[in-house]
Symmetry: C2
Subunit: 211 residues, 2 copies
DNA sequence: TGTACATCAGTGAACGCGCGTTCACTGATGTAC
DNA sequence: TGTACATCAGTGAACGCGCGTTCACTGATGTAC
């Protein structure tokens, strides 16, 4: 079986799938070495192409990273939607969505780093985040999920406010985990339980808030 | 008044306070341009010294960044401790501690970025985080604060577990805010209210958890 | 108090390196007739 | 079907740059006698 991104993919002079292969290589290098450690030269070499070939498909390094981030947001939204549309009670599905988020951050650190890098917010990617669920926006998806999971609402609390809290907690756990700053072997439950219990507490806290 | 870090500080051939000035310059540059954008050459120039002078005080770039991170942890722990030892009810002081955390992340992005950079966990700095409160560990401080603020405990929930949740939420809010990914002008309350309400919900959630 | 000397914080020039990017080019592909 | 030609995805060599780091050095400081 042949894999894109492998130098042996080359079908002669034309690669045939260079753009995809470059995005894939970038994602992998960012995952391995971080956004700092990723270089165009390495990506080109991995793909089996000269460094200059990249410029047929991207304006430059920044554009390539932005493309990785873009695909990351798309992929994340897909996974969250899939987790949410599974079987079980609404609360179970909502919980599974949280797990899917942490899994994504852990298994796709390349995507995740690109998505939340310094320049990501400026390059119009935030629309992907804050867009409606129908437009594939991950945040909109979360808000919708909250509305469906808890149809009675949260009293005076705006679902978007609650969604922000859930997201911030998820993001914080994911970042601390990625940085190796969650205590290991302390006898404490792991990150998934951390998120599950935290989300439950946030939701319950919102529901018991009365004007 | 003269400031360290200003080229005019030079008292002739010997700087007199070069180490401090370099750490300060590094912190400022990291704040302005991020960890990627910070260079030793810029720091040396700002301080008014040749790039080579740095090597009298640090083994290299990495060591300088580690020193910035070290001071960041120390400074954060001090501020948290100060916020906690103020006036008011325990809950008020605990809330103020959360605000101090967010303020630190916002006002000292140089420290914060260095503290939570990729290499920070490996360089023994995690001890500063996870150490006891008596040793100045910020996390230990948080655990202690929870114990004192809620002397009745949290039923079956380990205070360290709750502290992790609070910290992850704080960190997540701070990171999203720094990346410009918290929605602005949406009519939603700001980050401080986000943290206050979130922490309250987490604490209440823990208190109402019964085996 | 004055002098010799050890110490050490600085200089400044240079280094090797690897980066992102450019350029004129060439080989492959697809289409018109 | 065969040929001419436009298109365009690749090459490969080179670029300028700025980085972190080194080196032999020099000037200032402090101490012993």
């Amino acid at each position: 079986m042949r894999h894109w991104g492998d130098p042996s993919d080359r079908r002669g002079y034309h690669h045939g799938n260079l753009k995809e292969a470059l995005v894939d290589a970038a994602r992998r290098f960012i995952a391995e070495r971080g956004l700092l450690g990723f270089t165009l030269a390495d990506a080109a070499k991995l793909v089996g192409v000269s460094p200059a070939a990249l410029y047929r498909h991207f304006r430059g390094r920044e554009a390539l990273v932005a493309e990785v981030a873009f695909r990351g947001f798309t992929s994340l939204a897909e996974r969250l939607a899939r987790a949410l549309s599974g079987s079980g009670t609404p609360l179970e599905r909502f919980t599974r969505m949280g797990e899917a988020y942490l899994d994504f951050a852990e298994k796709e650190p390349g995507y995740y780093a690109a998505m939340f890098s310094a320049g990501a917010a400026e390059s119009g990617l935030s629309a992907l985040l804050n867009g409606d669920a129908g437009q594939g926006g991950a945040f909109g998806l979360l808000v919708d999920a909250l509305r469906k999971t808890f149809p009675d609402g949260f009293g005076p609390v705006d679902p978007r406010f609650l969604a922000l809290e859930v997201w911030a907690l998820s993001h914080g756990i994911a970042m601390l985990d990625a940085a190796g700053q969650l205590p290991k072997g302390s006898g404490l439950p792991g990150k998934h339980e951390l998120l599950r219990a935290g989300v439950l507490a946030l939701v319950q806290g919102a529901m018991t808030t009365r004007k």
